[in-house]
């Protein structure tokens, strides 16, 4: 098996044909707000993520990071404000916005009774991917799971399930990839495969939003970083050159404030 550090074959081809010269950013949020009853989870966020960028989003539990991702993924409607996913406006864009998004969460979102290949092929069909079976096999190759294609998900370890879940989320070559703590439960090999896959996606022009507690992995992939607290970005800046330890101090200061 190839070394985790070498580039992968089978990098996804992203649909670029219809991007205009004044291409809208892959993700745009304008005063995006989401409340649950009286609790404000996401508070008037305005930001953008362009193709090929990765926004690493850090913050304590309850800051609203998961809620933000779910709004961008189309699972939750914004209470107020708007978002643009691949140029499609939310609220309202519905299926068109969801078609270009891939969502990865710490739950696998898989059917444990079906095999890895069946799960991924089903997802490919949901997105209308041509030749869904081939696309599914490609996605499995990508996460180095070819020999597990016919294993029922139930029989796979947590780490392998997470990799299947990632393959499932990107089988349709999404322009926007939203990741909610994807490194949870992954061992060294899994984490390395994930990081390599994400680098590859970034290289092909996808826009990533990566929510993670693992500052190191997040910083390695990030082009921009943000620290979220109580529904707002208390810090949002390009990655810069801070080393991990220095950034750790920045983080602690930001959430302690």
């Amino acid at each position: 098996m190839s070394n985790a550090a070498t580039p992968l074959e089978h990098t996804p081809r992203l649909p670029r044909a219809t991007l205009t010269s004044a291409a809208p950013a892959a993700i745009e949020a304008h005063a995006l707000t989401r409340t649950f009853g009286r609790r404000v989870a996401v508070r008037a966020l305005t930001f953008a993520v362009n193709d090929g960028e990765c926004l690493a989003l850090f913050g304590p539990n309850g800051a609203g990071k998961t809620t933000l991702l779910r709004v961008l993924a189309g699972l939750l409607r914004p209470t107020s404000g708007t978002a643009y996913i691949g140029g499609v406006k939310l609220p309202g864009g519905g299926a068109d916005a969801r078609a270009v998004v891939g969502l990865i969460s710490h739950q696998s979102m898989l059917y444990s009774a079906l095999t890895a290949l069946e799960n991924i092929e089903f997802t490919a069909r949901l997105y209308g991917v041509e030749s869904p079976r081939e696309a599914a096999i490609r996605a499995l190759h990508w996460m180095r799971l070819e020999d597990r294609a016919d294993s029922p998900v139930r029989s796979l370890s947590r780490g392998l399930q997470q990799r299947v879940s990632i393959a499932r989320a990107i089988v349709h070559e999404p322009r926007v990839v939203l990741l909610d703590e994807p490194y949870t439960g992954l061992d060294e090999t899994g984490a390395a495969a994930l990081s390599a896959a994400l680098e590859s996606l970034k290289g092909s022009g996808a826009a990533l939003v990566l929510v993670t507690h693992h500052l190191g992995e997040g910083l390695a992939l990030a082009t921009h970083t943000a620290i979220m607290r109580d529904g707002q970005f208390v810090k949002h800046e390009p990655r810069g050159t801070l080393e991990l330890d220095a950034y750790r101090d920045v983080y602690r200061e930001a959430i302690g404030r």
Partner: protein, 231 residues
């Protein structure tokens, strides 16, 4: 945007139904449980209600449709249980398929499940109660299909809600059974008439209620389904 087109509502529903049936086929335990339950219930009812005292033609319709209801409910719960387990439902909802397609797909799979159980339960009732099934078989199948449609429409919607709660398996019958009255009553009355040798035209009033129920509730439940999803 990409040139690919996500499947339309019906195509997506078929896709989801196939997936649900594939999962059910893989494990089969829910289907087998529902069948075993039906057979057990038929046997117990048969002993409890002495068919020598009251004619079996009078007892059988009630037994048949009561068992239909309870075994139908048994199978419904797994429909959303499998989606809740690892939040697979999120993957469905994040995809471009619309919410009505999710409902239709699951309802179709449930329909296949219920009809599959009935295909074994009805002959079993005929066996125990010595019913002359052959001449009433065609209309009986029709009634079974109509009743199953109504049951599945309501049951799929309520199981979507129940799956999210603490009391899931108990909540589903509590919510759904009052809604099954306009299904069970017409079905039992029509079956009774058929078994007594009356022509089906005599039962048209009941059948109209059943058909109207199916139409109204399939539409209403499909429209209500998106409201049971977090938004």
């Amino acid at each position: 945007m990409s040139a690919r087109t996500p499947p339309g509502t019906l195509a997506a529903a078929a896709l989801i139904a196939r997936k649900d049936l594939a999962i059910e086929f893989r494990t089969r335990s829910a289907f087998l449980s529902a069948i075993v339950f039906s057979l057990l219930a038929i046997a117990i009812f048969y002993f409890a209600w002495d068919a020598t005292a009251v004619s079996s033609v009078d007892l059988a319709p009630g037994v048949l449709w009561v068992i239909f209801t309870f075994s139908g409910i048994l199978g419904l719960h797994r429909s959303f249980g499998v989606e809740e387990a690892d939040r697979a439902i999120d993957a469905l909802l994040v995809s471009p398929v619309d919410r009505e397609a999710v409902f239709l797909g699951k309802a179709l799979a449930n329909l296949a499940f219920v009809l599959g159980v009935q295909a074994l339960a009805i002959p079993a009732v005929a066996l125990f109660y010595n019913l002359p099934l052959t001449r009433v078989l065609a209309p009986l199948i029709g009634i079974a299909v109509l009743a199953a449609i109504g049951l599945v429409a309501v049951g799929t919607l309520f199981s979507s809600m129940a799956a999210n709660t603490r009391l899931a398996e108990l909540l589903l019958p509590v919510l759904a059974l009052p809604f099954f009255v306009p299904i069970v009553l017409p079905a039992a009355q029509t079956t009774a008439r058929l078994l007594a040798g009356r022509p089906i035209s005599e039962a048209m009033g009941w059948l109209r209620i059943l058909i109207a129920f199916d139409i109204v509730f399939v539409v209403a439940c499909a429209l209500a389904f998106p409201f049971t999803l977090e938004d």
